[in-house]
């Protein structure tokens, strides 16, 4: 699809709007429908659209694998960390009242943090799942190539059911 100018132009217009909408869903979840999970999925959709239109390599360039792994862990840590923080402040695990002098403000802050954690993890997981499945074909082809090049070290188990 990389040579289709219509697709490229529409993708270039859509991708920033999709990302902006994801941020809106993320931070507006307290007031309207939405929240971290939906926002994460929509944010990931922007990167997946980028990769389907402009090719997997350019898509990977926009979302490096190393940053991806960090983001997957960071989201869960942010969520769990909020719970640990409330415990250190003398309340129950994930009781956000402790986060501020005003319980309502504490609840708002806590919900913001855990929703952000959910959003980061979900977005990173969805993008990495897509890249893993979509990149599998290239991976298999390269494996076959190296297998024929070095028959001594070839490991056949992974390719048994192809």
């Amino acid at each position: 699809m990389q040579d289709d100018p219509v697709m490229r132009v529409i993708a270039k217009v859509l991708i920033p709007s999709v990302m902006l909408f994801a941020l809106y869903v993320q931070f507006h979840g307290d007031y309207g429908p939405g929240g971290g999970f939906q926002a994460g999925v929509i944010f990931a959709a922007a990167f997946i659209l980028n990769a389907t239109i402009f090719g997997l390599n350019r898509g990977r360039h926009a979302w490096p694998a190393r940053a991806n792994l960090l983001a997957i862990c960071l989201g869960v840590l942010l969520y769990g960390g909020t719970g640990v923080a409330t415990m250190l402040l003398g309340e129950n695990f994930l009781n956000y009242n402790a986060l501020s002098d005003d319980p309502i403000a504490g609840q708002h802050l806590g919900i913001l943090l855990v929703e952000l954690g959910v959003g980061i993890t979900v977005a990173a997981v969805m993008v990495s799942l897509f890249f893993t499945f979509a990149g599998r074909l290239t991976h298999i082809r390269l494996m076959r190539k190296t297998d024929t090049a070095e028959p001594d070290t070839a490991q056949q188990e992974g390719l048994g059911n192809e």
Binding site: V125, S128, L129, L137, T146
Partner: protein
């Protein structure tokens, strides 16, 4: 009345899509139909006033799942393998379906105020949300605060799923180092 018509049309399409997906053998068409199924289901959730669930169903079921299934299709043949009807599994599935359909008659009426689900913690959550949490969207206050521990569990489930996929086919093995070295050699050569 108009609500009944909308529901009837949506459920008709839901059943139609399900039967079409059963009849077809081309995997690409099946993936597209499952996306359409999710979209109709999302519309049904909107009719039921469950906008948050509808949002998730549209984004995940109709969006990401379809894309992931398409990415997987590049690895498998385009046609489903022909197979005979397996009698015992078909019998078990049909019996379970009939039993579930019979069980539906025992459920409380849809939207009934005296249904058990509306008389346990739900009234506390709905009436207390404004004072306890101060967030207008009750779904968010239940999801992130009242039931924050469950949502932490869900996030960990997603995390675990991604780690499992990456470990199995993400190439965190000796093969990947071999493959990336090969790719570098190809690039240089």
């Amino acid at each position: 009345m108009s609500g009944f018509v909308v529901n009837a049309v949506l459920i008709f399409f839901l059943v139609l899509i399900a039967f079409l997906a059963l009849r077809l053998h081309r995997l690409f068409a099946m993936v597209m139909l499952s996306g359409a199924f999710s979209l109709v289901a999302a519309a049904l959730f909107v009719v039921l006033d469950a906008v948050d669930v509808a949002f998730t169903e549209a984004a995940v079921g109709a969006g990401i799942s379809t894309v992931l299934a398409l990415a997987t299709l590049s690895l498998v043949p385009v046609e489903e393998k022909p197979h005979k009807v397996a009698i015992i599994p078909a019998f078990i599935a049909l019996t379970t379906g009939v039993l579930l359909a019979l069980a539906v008659t025992d459920l409380p009426k849809f939207g009934a105020a005296d249904a058990p689900i509306h008389n346990y913690v739900a009234p506390d959550f709905i009436s207390g949300s404004e004072n306890d949490i101060g967030v207008p969207n009750v779904v968010t206050s239940v999801l992130a605060s009242y039931r924050g521990y469950d949502t932490l569990g869900e996030t960990v489930v997603i995390f675990t799923a991604a780690i499992a996929v990456l470990l199995i086919i993400g190439g965190w093995t000796r093969d990947r180092r071999r493959v990336s070295k090969q790719a570098e050699d190809d690039h240089a050569g």
